[in-house]
Amino acid sequence: MQKHTITAIICLAGALVASAIAGASFLSMRTPDIIVRGPGVTEVKMLSDWFPGIKGTAGDTEVYVMKGADDGESMLVLGGTHPNEPSGHLSAILLIENAIPKTGTLYVIPRANNSGFTVNDPQEGSPQSYTIQTPSGPRWFRYGSRATNPIDQWPDPNVYIHASSGQTLSGSETRNLNRGYPGRPDGTLTEKVCYGIVQLIKQQNVTITVDLHEASPEYPVINAIVAHPKAMQLASDTVLGLEMQDIKISLEPSPVNLRGLSHRELGDFTDTLPLLMETANASQGRLRGRTDAALVLTGKDKWYVRAAKLGRLYVPYDEKGHPIEERVGRHVTAIGEILNSWNLENPDKPIEIENLPGYEDLQTKGVGAYLLPIPAK
């Protein structure tokens, strides 16, 4: 056998070993984190129950239904629209494991882009998961990609054309769930998931929809509520309620010309009142240093501290960072305030949900204190 043939065999064997090791790591991302059914959960359905077109696909996702004793209005909370924005996913899980609706119905989708939880964004060095200590032991949660897994929707076009408006965006945005609303039944997987969420809202006549996000500290829309014009009264009342609790938050109108986003299209195409909320997440920012699970949980990053001193950020940033307790606390407390505001304006058709973790309690006890033990198999 010639020398170059021997080296070729060695190189090929090396490639196969590297592929096997990397492949095993990538495949492990398809194991979802565990969500425990809390005392308020009455039923767990799938999004395909509202739109069968996604049944059996990676886009189909769990919908936790939490019905109160009395019928009333309803709220839908979307976590994990962008799986690299962990406070949205965790806040949704905290609702599932703690909230007890008294009047009305709460729908929670903790993995709105289920496919996005099965992959990381390339070249970002993101962790595949992060762990939170709870009284019953550690629990891990998935950190995913901003967009649908390319394995599930490939190839990307050069230019993404938003179907209902004709708006053009970068081709990779075709896998961004929050650019695909109102979706299409015969579109891409991402558009089908958007369509499924719209069908849920229409068929259940959902009163309020809250889409939970995070933003890079250098992004202007941060620590903010973005509201469709018809939800502006509700949002402004919520901001006042949060300010009364000394939680600073800005109110942004949904841009008319930025299409495909939940706060725009859900308001235009359904009767729901759509709101989107943002907290500060360094682990998705462009200015960050080392990216690991600690950054996801603490938000501590010396480069962001430096950027803040240079006046480059839209949130205060110091050595304390922006821990997950603060970010989840903002989301959960804001949801409570949205409900308070709704009930003040609509006392005849309230949505009453009890047992929501409080902001101060989350800061002192931590998120783990509100996560339930995983039942033994």
Binding site: H4, C11, G14, A15, S19, G23, F26
Partner: protein, 47 residues
């Protein structure tokens, strides 16, 4: 479109393996081996 891209991928992977065994330059063989990894993972729809 998906299957067309997959077929293109299979052809590129086959050509890369062919180069790996055809060339006598070690540096090119190592490069080909590195190129094989992402091509193979996508062909198997893992990454």
């Amino acid at each position: 479109m998906f299957f067309i891209y997959l077929a293109i991928l299979a052809v590129v992977l086959a050509l890369t393996v062919w180069v790996l065994f055809d060339t006598k330059k070690l540096s090119l063989q190592v490069t080909a081996a590195m190129v094989i990894v992402p091509l193979l993972l996508r062909l198997l729809m893992i990454k």
